[in-house]
Symmetry: C2
Subunit: 282 residues, 2 copies
Amino acid sequence: MTVVVGLLHPGSMGAAFGAQLRLRGHTVLWCPDGRSDATRRRAQDAGLRAAGLPEIVARSEVMLSLCPPAASEQIAADVAELRTGSEAVYVEANAVAPFRVQRIADSLGPTPVVDAAVVGSPPVGGKSPMLYLAAAAGHTDRIVELFAGTDVRTHIVGDRLGAASALKLAYSSYQKVSRVLAAVAYGAADAYGVGDELLAIAAERTGSYLVETDYIPKTAARAWRWGPEIEDTAALLAAAGLPDALMHAAAETLARWDSCKDASLDVTEALEALRAERDDPS
Amino acid sequence: MTVVVGLLHPGSMGAAFGAQLRLRGHTVLWCPDGRSDATRRRAQDAGLRAAGLPEIVARSEVMLSLCPPAASEQIAADVAELRTGSEAVYVEANAVAPFRVQRIADSLGPTPVVDAAVVGSPPVGGKSPMLYLAAAAGHTDRIVELFAGTDVRTHIVGDRLGAASALKLAYSSYQKVSRVLAAVAYGAADAYGVGDELLAIAAERTGSYLVETDYIPKTAARAWRWGPEIEDTAALLAAAGLPDALMHAAAETLARWDSCKDASLDVTEALEALRAERDDPS
């Protein structure tokens, strides 16, 4: 049984999710209003069908919100304005704090909301990310069924709205802030001429992000996107009574890379951008 | 050729270094004044010889400072007061910022200072930590010779005072703050009932600290010691023009565990101590 899915708004992850749904014969609608040429090409390549937001909201049986985290509430608000009271499920799949998922659910009124989160790379070239799901069982089951037979694996983590998002943020707080730490540590060693020795130490520990200096420019290029996600993680930690200082500090550190949005830098350029003032460290 | 080494003040790392030197026939003096019974036993087991600080300073050809980082400057000051102008080398082997190494060198006047740092576990049971060294070549060569044939490996990183300490702090900023992050991330997931799912994600990445929850209570027990080291790393980063916010935040986070000094906790107790107020995270 194929269904109509509204995809809001396809970036690289969303387009790949859309392509997987297309392979199973589902119809995937997306809204090109105000989107870049790159996004249009990506949607076209993925076999998605362009439509206005009113049509998407009216026709979709499942709405899937997969966007930069900072846009998630606005997208839900846009949908809420147009909502006609169908039985569509709204899947909030972005890396946002549980309180925001709750606010989105509240804003959508009677529309059932599934809290979801993606861990892993976009499902292209055999990669198979995990889509974590949390909501009442009937609703999560519909999403499990939707992705059955695709490269998107699904995993229900219970019926508590926010649990999937909390899992995502908890994991990415470690993963992303470790990346920030790795950049800072390498910069410090490099400033004293002992960058190679640092990497030699790190290499003795398998899997250490420290050895992956090629990732430093990627962290810089993604800083604009990671910052809001990490600030949301701070909110999550505060709500759990846990210290949020590391997350605020990571966001503050990432903000130094604001001007590097999606840039192609080398390691030296990325570290240069990280330094506010290039003082002599001696 | 055996020499007289003054060890200030042997904790578990220092005692193990002393035992290695004893195995090569060197005389190792230590000062029991005001030290705990555990320290005395450890020094005795390692074959170290008790002596007053004036005797240690007068007789030692090499003085090795290996202590909690916060004590390093006081120890140097104590030695400086007693200094008789011999040709002894002072090895500052603690995890302190380069500016502090320089201050110690300045306070010791004509005494040659070798900047050093230990990476790895104490040299017992076949473990062989690396002692990084930075100073004028003649002085570092003496220390390389001193540890020749022991389980303490040596590695000269140049002649710039502070380079060895910078290497140590850069590495431990990553390693220790990642440990703090791992504890915080696990606590966040646990608060939403998805701790096991977090560990399952982390297990797919080899070497991730996230999987090692047994280490969370160890981090809590060591917080009193890691805090000052990480604050010094903040100073190092600031001097290099790099953002120090993550280090201050890590020290602030560790301070929540101040009351857990050397305690034997389980994971639940350690997380409980990390939470300032146990709010309901829903």
